[in-house]
Symmetry: C2
Subunit: 216 residues, 2 copies
């Protein structure tokens, strides 16, 4: 079997913009968490559960980034959360300038923690520093345990990994041991949580980690 390498670089340096935004957020005492995953991994459902559970503990807001539609932001607002919708108009990821532009519209609302729900994409968002303090990857059980082998950059760049829909594990072939071995080989420091926003399993541990992070 032949393997052909097709070299082409798509990296772009937006590090300075990201550092500037992070500095501004620091001066305001705001923590920004960049949530990244495949489409349908359950980012919005997880965010809904997090803002519900963190109510009274941390003032949260959500920046929803999508190519089109505002279904996610509407869901957050319906549930009583504060949300803003950003349209990337075809762009498959958020970069620091886009995030800054979204943040400008949220500045007046007091928040201690902002969740940026990035475009559903396991590739491109990992290549761009959004200015966030924490990169949090969301992977769902139905996607399979081989994802670290196929999308290594996302696992390498994430500080926290929330494996969602853990309640559905009986219906899928998901080898936790093989998965964890591949994840830790790419990123020994990653904080791994298995959660279900539906049943609440594992949510407490993840929330304690977030509370600790914001408090630091």
């Amino acid at each position: 079997m032949k393997t052909i390498e097709l070299k082409k670089s798509i990296t772009e340096d937006n590090d300075a913009d990201a550092r500037a935004l992070r500095g501004e957020l620091d001066s305001l005492g705001i923590t920004l968490i960049n949530l990244m995953s495949s489409p349908g991994a359950g980012k919005t459902t997880l965010v809904l559960k997090l803002i519900e559970d963190l109510k009274g503990k941390i003032a949260c807001s959500v920046m929803e980034a999508d190519i089109a539609s505002d279904v996610d932001a509407v869901k957050i607002e319906k549930a009583g959360g504060r949300a803003i919708q950003v349209h990337t108009d075809g762009m498959c990821h958020m970069d620091a300038l886009m995030t800054k532009k979204g943040f400008e519209e949220m500045k007046d609302t007091f928040s201690k923690l902002i969740f940026l729900e990035n475009v559903g994409n396991l590739i491109c968002p990992a290549e761009y520093d959004t200015g966030a303090h924490i990169n949090m990857m969301v992977l769902s059980i139905p996607e399979g345990d081989d994802k670290p082998l196929k999308y290594p950059l996302m696992f390498s760049k994430s500080d926290i990994l929330a494996v969602t829909k853990i309640d559905t594990i009986p219906y899928f072939d998901f080898d936790k041991a093989a998965f964890e071995k591949a994840v830790y080989a790419l990123n020994p420091d990653i904080k791994l949580f298995y959660v279900s926003a539906k049943t609440g399993e594992g949510m407490k541990e993840l929330e304690e980690c977030l509370i600790k992070t914001v408090g630091d």
Copy 2:
């Protein structure tokens, strides 16, 4: 709630290369099907089932495109299929030149049907004509019924839509009626199949459609 438009175009014209490749494939009597989906939607499992079922009916080969690893191509070869692995080295989609380069390595093997398994990504691959005759989108039940609203281009550009993992529908909130309404609003001509490569449900209908397409 505010919605901010972030305009930026990422379109690139590779239409001439795509037409040239399609012409070459036509002259050789080969049909190329471009398979696109999110990571973990089940493209490889579906292809494995298709080449197994089509054995003796259509000579098939598979071009596996991934950022890294060769787990999918190895799976296909282990199952007795003919596969080639293409690495995009970070690129989040295949374009016509990349596909042509992969095809050059497969030319000597007689095939009537080539499946190009594109990089797992519901966004960028829809923007590039690979030179394929058929765009086939794969969406899995666990990803949810709201995907047409959030990733409209992929649905608009696809000729066939295979909704996989239909056997898991009892465990997820997937509204078929709402889904179909949104899909047909974007693309009234799309051919929609609900399938399970695990149980075999719906596979016959999809295979008949492919046989008819190759025969045409």
